[in-house]
Amino acid sequence: MSRLKRLFHQFGSPPWFYRFSGKLVPWLWVAFALLAAWGLYRGLVVAPADYQQGESVRIMYIHVPSAWMSWMVYAVMAGFGICALVWRVRVAEILMISSAPVGAAFTLVTLVSGSLWGRPTWGTYWVWDARLTSELVLLFLYLGVIGLYNAFDEPRKAARAASLLAIVGLVNLPIIHYSVNWWNTLHQPASIGLDGSSIHPSMLWPLLIMAAATKFYYGACLLTRARNRLLEQDRGKRWAREALAEGGR
């Protein structure tokens, strides 16, 4: 208990977090770059084109990993939100609000890449399919969190309000997901499925590599954003001035 608390305290101390994450970030970026290069090479060059969809299937290597990430980031963000609200950990506040734009970007990439993919495959940019709809709702949830954060002048208050909203959204997400699925089976619109279940290994591998790459991307992006935010907020404090003097380490 007390050890956990001490760990929490340590992690919650901005200077410590800043130094620790500073060591981690470059490695995350390197891991992301290597995996992304490898995954894209295998996806765009090595993997075969689909016999039905042709070359456009390659959008999948962006689309699907970012779709996975869009949900994962929301859960992580709400987790930080819980830490921020319950234990008032400032670093958690910052990690929470730094996650939101990254998650929103993943969601947007999913939507845009899916739409671009939909044009050749379905003949339309958009249908009100279950997964598309819940992805759209997820985007609204992210935008709500970002919008709420921006609506306050006092950063800590803003972060805590946004955390609360993220948690409320997290509780609702399963309900939304379930109800949208049910709604969709009820209405059965244009008979389009996103069936990728029997996926060939030559396509699965690059997909998994890209999925790993996006996770490193999220980690690197999150920590970089959080560090910048922290430094900007604490620019009047001694540790931040020292860190700046050392060249942002």
Binding site: P15, Q233, G236, K237, R238
Partner: protein
């Protein structure tokens, strides 16, 4: 009733005022002084528990009554209804709203919607609510503002009664407007010293 030690609050990651130590006991009347923007309102909100302190300890053992800049009057209800509401909310069936209004000098405006009151009348109405609250600790932010001479005397009377009956009060004020009550103590709120505290 209330004990604060090294209390301060950060806004935008800067402390608003220098750490404050304050002990309030029965019969105490504390007057907070300080320049505009020094942090009196902020400190009172901290003491009221409306804001959580960034640093320092705060322990309060009794209920508090709060009169800030926002007077919590319902513009659509008249004076008496506003006071009845306060009484019901405080759960004090023994207190009489009419009597409170009289003591605050509002008998002329009893059935006027609070939205049509003048600034001073509104302040009086908010102060009348104190008489309907069971809280032993009053926290008043610039209670003298907008009051006429008569109102100031009246408020001094209320304060003297409350403090005399074992209550306590922390209030902020400006300039020469000090309670005409013996034994009040002043606490000057100072700006935070420059430099950081990590």
């Amino acid at each position: 009733m209330l004990q604060a030690s090294r209390l301060t609050l950060e806004r935008h990651f800067h402390p608003v005022f220098a750490p404050v130590d304050l002990v309030v006991g029965r019969g105490d009347l504390w007057v907070l002084t300080g320049a505009n923007g020094s942090g009196k309102t902020t400190l009172l909100r901290l003491l009221a528990g409306l804001v959580t302190p960034s640093e320092g300890q705060l322990a309060r053992s009794v209920a508090a009554a709060w009169v800030g800049h926002r007077l919590a009057l319902k513009d659509d209800l008249d004076v008496l209804e506003n006071l009845q509401l306060a009484r019901d909310f405080a759960g004090r069936t023994d207190a009489d709203p009419l009597d409170a209004a009289r003591k605050a000098g509002l008998e002329m405006a009893l059935d006027q919607p609070a939205g049509t009151l003048s600034a001073g009348q509104r302040k009086r109405c908010a102060l009348a609510r104190l008489l309907l609250s069971p809280a032993p600790l009053w926290l008043l932010d610039e209670p003298y503002a907008n009051l006429d001479r008569d109102g100031v005397t009246l408020l001094d009377g209320l304060l003297a009664d409350h403090v005399g009956a074992g209550g306590a009060c922390v209030m902020s004020t400006h300039g020469d407007l000090k309670p005409a009550i013996d034994g009040y103590r002043e606490l000057a709120i100072l700006p935070a010293p420059p430099g950081d505290h990590w």
